[in-house]
């Protein structure tokens, strides 16, 4: 049962004063792809207080995760759930671990467990508790209590079963000063592209906006404390410098919920960040990517950021129809989205975007508006087409609205909804076959993913390697391949919309589409390989000069045969 959560007025003993026994480790389990900063911060705080911490990738076989737990005998295992649709997978893992005798405390954190804690406890009955909101201090306090045999049930920021009843202790305030946290633990080999190492990093936490499909703002608004907190620009640059000097990192991926750019205060922050970067000399050696809203794209600021190493921008454009943007509560117009794209193109800064072709307000007209929008922004072949269907995740205002109107369908692992026009569901199934099953947009073999990777490589070569002869011709070729692929996919989807709205005949043969898809990939890989091979020695020399790690030389076929 949900209970009102009172704010606690007294403070528990500080972390430094608390009694603890650090002889047994803490184990943390979660997705590790591209580094998991959430787990990294938890591990760093625990380690700072004397605990040894073992971070385990959920992608490892369950038997291996079980073996590690048996071997290290932790006092507690913390599970980080970042995608609600994987809760079944976690539930199965926890069940297996309990059956095999792992009897330590099991807890879970993340957006879904924080906002839908009762459901989490019901779906994963092996859990002893759920840690809500930002978990650094709560997990430390919980580890301390368990390590010395004290009761953990009065700790702030947790939820647990008491008999048939779910008890939620007072919510813990969000971390006020992010710079007081240690740097996140990054005990893994960084990924590398073209020999350049990549690392995730954050400059802020929280998002001030209120998009209806997103649970980030509800996560931060439900907890006491300031919603958006930025680190000091100098501290961010210091961490980047340390990672560059000690780990050879040259590509930083900012994973902020919304990079601080919007409005007077954050624009000042961004300018200070640029000043710090320029003072540090890093822009000569490193590049960075960040996520922002389209209405934060400002020509002068972005020119400065580009000079300071910004090489790629992700924008959540989400819709090309005013009605869609209104339903998604983006508080932005189509015109603003178009303007942002125009600015980025005019200053020659690469970008990518998130886009929802279908949302609960969709009609066939809005779908076609969206397709026209995509045609407009991608006409020059600067990027591959990508889109998805909006899904009603837990903790989002749009899910509540769908519940209210009786349109919510599916379950926590496959949230779904009824469209206003039932023919759109058939249309969605039709395009799912094309864009997902046939691998145009989703999946590792998808055209979009591979074209995006090729464009990232171009940006990296342009910024982190000496000028390569023929680069602009290669970019033109890539643009041609991208444009042709985009044209075909958008035509297929548009035609399908008429098949389902007007009963027109479907003229697309799946076998021929698959042939075209293969042709796009073959063209891409051939052109890409040819270019790389032509400049391989120059690229290798640049890496050697910078002391970058170079893999043992062996002739290798590239992705097409992978």
């Amino acid at each position: 049962m949900r209970q009102p959560i009172p704010l606690r007025v007294f403070q528990s003993p500080s972390a430094a004063e608390r009694e603890r026994d650090t002889s047994r480790p803490v184990m943390l389990v979660g997705f590790q792809h591209q580094g998991n900063l959430g787990l990294g911060y938890l591990a760093a705080v625990l380690r700072e207080h004397g605990y040894s911490v073992r971070v385990v990738d959920i992608e490892q076989p369950p038997a291996e995760i079980l073996r590690i737990a048996q071997e290290i005998n932790p006092i507690l295992i913390g599970f980080s759930l970042i995608f609600q649709f994987f809760i079944d997978r976690y539930a199965a893992l926890l069940y297996v671990m309990r059956v095999h005798g792992i009897d330590c405390h099991f807890t879970m954190g993340g957006h879904f467990p924080s906002l839908s804690f009762q459901q989490t406890l019901e779906l994963v009955p092996e859990l002893d508790s759920v840690v809500r909101f930002e978990g650094e201090m709560t997990l430390l306090e919980m580890s301390d209590a368990i390590s010395v045999g004290k009761d953990w049930r009065d700790i702030d920021g947790i939820v647990y079963w008491r008999g048939e009843e779910v008890v939620a202790t007072p919510a813990r305030a969000l971390v006020e000063d992010l710079d007081k946290l240690p740097y996140p633990e990054r005990n893994y080999e960084p990924e590398a592209v073209l020999g350049r190492s990549i690392m995730p990093i954050i400059a802020s936490r929280g998002c001030a906006r209120t998009c209806s499909f997103c649970s980030i703002h509800t996560f931060y608004r439900a907890a006491p404390g300031k919603i958006v907190r930025t680190r000091k620009p100098a501290e961010v640059v210091k961490e980047m410098k340390m990672l560059h000097e000690e780990r050879g990192i040259t590509i930083f991926l900012f994973q902020d919920d919304d990079f601080p750019l919007f409005g007077t205060v954050w624009r000042r922050w961004a300018n200070e960040f640029v000043d710090e970067l320029l003072r540090s000399g890093l822009p000569e050696k490193v590049i960075w990517k960040m996520n922002c809203r389209a209405d934060a794209v400002d020509r002068d600021l972005f020119i400065r950021m580009k000079e300071a190493g910004l090489y790629f921008v992700y924008m959540g454009l989400e819709s090309g129809s005013e009605k869609g943007l209104e339903t998604l509560h983006k508080q932005i117009t189509v015109e603003q989205n178009l303007r942002a794209v125009e600015i980025l193109k005019s200053i020659d800064l690469m970008w990518e975007y998130g886009f929802m072709l279908l949302d609960p307000s969709s009609t066939f007209e809005s779908v076609r508006e969206n397709l026209n929008f995509l045609r407009t922004i991608l006409a020059d072949g600067c990027l591959p087409v990508t889109f998805c269907r909006m899904l009603p995740y837990d903790g989002t205002p749009i899910k509540d609205e769908l519940v209210r109107t009786g349109r919510l369908r599916g379950d926590v692992c496959s949230p779904d909804y009824d469209f206003l026009d039932p023919r759109l569901a058939e249309f969605y199934d039709g395009i799912t076959d094309v864009v997902s099953l046939q691998g145009w947009i989703h999946g590792l073999e998808a055209v979009t993913l591979q074209l995006s990777t090729a464009w990232h490589e171009v940006a990296i070569m342009q910024r982190l390697f000496p000028a390569l002869p023929g680069m602009s011709e290669y970019a033109d070729t890539l643009r041609g391949i991208t444009r042709n692929s985009n044209d075909l996919l958008l035509r297929v989807v548009e035609d399908l919309s008429y098949v389902y709205s007007d009963g027109r005949e479907n003229r697309w043969d799946p076998a021929k589409l698959e042939e075209s898809r293969q042709q796009v990939l073959d063209d891409l890989i051939t052109e890409r390989d040819d270019f790389i091979v032509r400049h391989q020695e120059t690229l290798l020399t640049a890496l050697r000069l910078d002391g970058a790690p170079i893999l043992v030389e062996e002739s290798a076929r590239i992705a097409a045969t992978a």
Binding site: S414, T432, Q450, D529, Q536, L540, L543, L551
Partner: protein, 61 residues
């Protein structure tokens, strides 16, 4: 569509292998399988829960 080139495939050094997985985002499981199959799995799951609940109710009587 660009024309497919003929001839020997280029040999790329290990450091420069095309690493498409680094920008890969996890997709929900239902996007990986046939939608009809997914719908069927959901139906079976619902049916299974119904049967288990019926068995449990019988046991409690």
């Amino acid at each position: 569509m660009a024309t497919k080139k003929k001839g020997a495939k280029a040999q790329v050094a290990a450091t420069f292998i095309f690493r498409k997985e680094w920008v890969f985002d996890e997709v929900p499981p239902w996007l990986r399988i046939d939608r009809a199959a997914w719908t069927r799995i959901q139906q079976l799951k619902t049916q299974f829960i119904k049967e288990v609940n019926a068995e449990l109710a019988k046991g409690q009587r």
